[in-house]
Symmetry: C2
DNA sequence: GGCGAGCCACAACCTTGTGTTGTGTGCATA
DNA sequence: TATGCACACAACACAAGGTTGTGGCTCGCC
């Protein structure tokens, strides 16, 4: 199916005649006729009934029309996702399942007119992300940024989310019925966080967390996907994992998994936005405004963050 | 943007190298290289970084990939909407705002795997619809079908929805705060139903309704679209209109419109499904099953239907 | 009823595009 | 350093798609 033919089809359907469509597309009437004929031949249906004063959609044509329009819309969005200068705002999230992605969904709901592209540079480390932001291939990225992190001149960071963790356990787990737990209560329980590549900022976070409270946190084990992890936890009386408070997992209700808040202190993952100060993208300013004005729920408990993140309190 | 190029891009991204993608598409590696190069030139970005052992997506490529896949999905659906023999189930509704359309949405939620196309043969009368069903350009149609209606041999009809009307009024209307109204109470109030073409089955219904209860029902007035009608009603202390119970209109909350049930008797619009008995489309059987098994809310009041519809009670 | 206007289809022709074959280049690996 | 692998470039052939020119059909008008 040729998109030029589809465009021509829509133009002809709107105009009600080939002649006018041809004028609108700056081609001859014969070219329109040819394109439509080719499309009809390709689809093996008649799309228009030709009359002496125009062309009228057949039922098949009527059925195709909305799909054709959708096709052109998607093409436009695809184009807008990459074309330099006027492409959509491109924001990098480490994973689609953690808080920044949820935030972006919310932003999109509030500003549906703003073209937005969420990419996940899987396992990209902070330096890679900073580099991508400096070069301009992405407009913004969410990462845990340490204060000693070296930043190029034009690149800025700001702490924007403090995401508290919750314990995720199956119904047979010893803590399954707790209303809340403290990190001290987690000592001796096995916490499983598979799929976190060693040496990354995320691994570093959990390493320091384990050391600070004497916890047992395992990164080992092959990753069979999220679904497998959840199934494992659902069945186990020992395994548990940590998930962000705002993350949205989908799992069968039958798993009967429970999210249990962690407090005294809450285990907070501090995330910063990375962006380039002289990036002229209008949507970037909008997005930063959105981040600035939204009210984070203030935690009503002590919080723990890694030492490198204690240099500055999160904006409240 | 050329869809073949997009297809090639996706194949190359999946394969991780041009060579394998070429094999999958049954063309030469050089052709793949050319297509990708053309796409890159068209979009003015580099999509792959070429290395000695394959091609890897750039960030721009990663951003484009989901859009590209979506484009191919939509193309497939567009194709499926018309291609004879294996096209989607095509169901005709008089309007997207009335009960059958709502029913189809529900059916789609229950069977998302079934390709479904809802077309609105605007102002088509029953004969036209029956003809389209017989010819096979549509698979099923919802209409009010009178018993004396002539049907071709293979065409069947069955009464499937009895849609009760509700009164839609603005906050300043005399009946705005009623919990329910009877047709008798509507005498003297002006009911406005613009946009119904005279001579159609719908107009006939309201004509008989007006005659039966002595109501004032206006069809006159230019149609400025639904939005205009709703705005008019919201402001008026006199105007009201009738809407189906299951219809879903969207209007600003600020309008403060109220839907008021009509009872003793309820004003029911009887709708039948029209289909061709020997239509082999598997989804048609599914849809008829769905219609058969769903439980209509039995009205707990007397009902009024036009005389021609009183030949048979709706299936309960 | 004849005739012109409007609209679409068909034919001929030409340009452009797109696939193939053949060859070159760069990089990783042995 | 030699070899294999993967992609790019060049030359060529053929197909696709656009334009101009023309004919047929239908509708409205004199």
């Amino acid at each position: 199916m040729d998109l030029d033919a589809v465009r021509t089809f829509v133009a002809a359907a709107d105009a009600g005649q080939f002649q006018e469509a041809a004028a609108a597309l700056s081609i001859t009437q014969q070219a329109v006729s040819k394109r439509i004929a080719a499309l009809e031949k390709d689809l093996e249906v008649r799309l228009f009934t030709r009359t002496a004063r125009g062309a009228q959609l057949t039922v098949d044509g009527q059925a195709l029309l909305p799909h054709a329009r959708e096709l052109l819309r998607v093409e436009k969005r695809a184009d807008a996702s990459v074309r330099p200068g006027r492409r959509a705002l491109r924001v990098d999230v480490v994973s689609r399942r953690i808080a920044p992605a949820v935030l972006l969904q919310d932003f999109h709901r509030m500003h549906p007119e703003i073209e937005l592209d969420v990419v996940a540079l899987l396992r990209a480390d902070v330096d890679e992300a900073i580099n991508a932001v400096e070069v301009g291939t992405i407009d913004a990225s969410f990462h845990a940024v340490a204060p000693q992190q070296h930043l190029p001149d034009a690149v800025r960071t700001a702490r924007v989310i403090d995401e508290p963790h919750q314990l995720l356990v199956g119904p047979r787990h010893a803590l399954a019925n707790a209303d809340a737990v403290t990190p001290a209560q987690l000592v001796g329980h096995r916490i499983w966080m598979p799929g976190i590549p060693p040496g990354t900022e995320v691994a570093g976070y959990f390493d320091e967390l384990a050391a600070a409270f004497g916890l047992t946190i395992d990164f080992i084990g092959p990753v069979f996907g999220n679904e497998a992890l959840l199934a494992e936890i659902a069945d186990s009386s020992e395994l548990a994992t940590l998930v962000g408070e705002r993350t949205r997992y989908l799992w069968p209700d039958s798993y009967d998994l429970r999210r249990i808040p962690v407090r005294d202190p809450a285990l907070v993952y501090p995330l910063s936005l990375i962006w380039r100060d002289d990036n002229p993208h209008p949507a970037l300013a909008e997005f930063r405004d959105y981040l600035r004005t939204r009210r984070p729920n203030p935690p009503n408990t002590e919080v723990w963050t890694p030492t490198w993140a204690q240099w500055a309190a999160p904006r409240s």
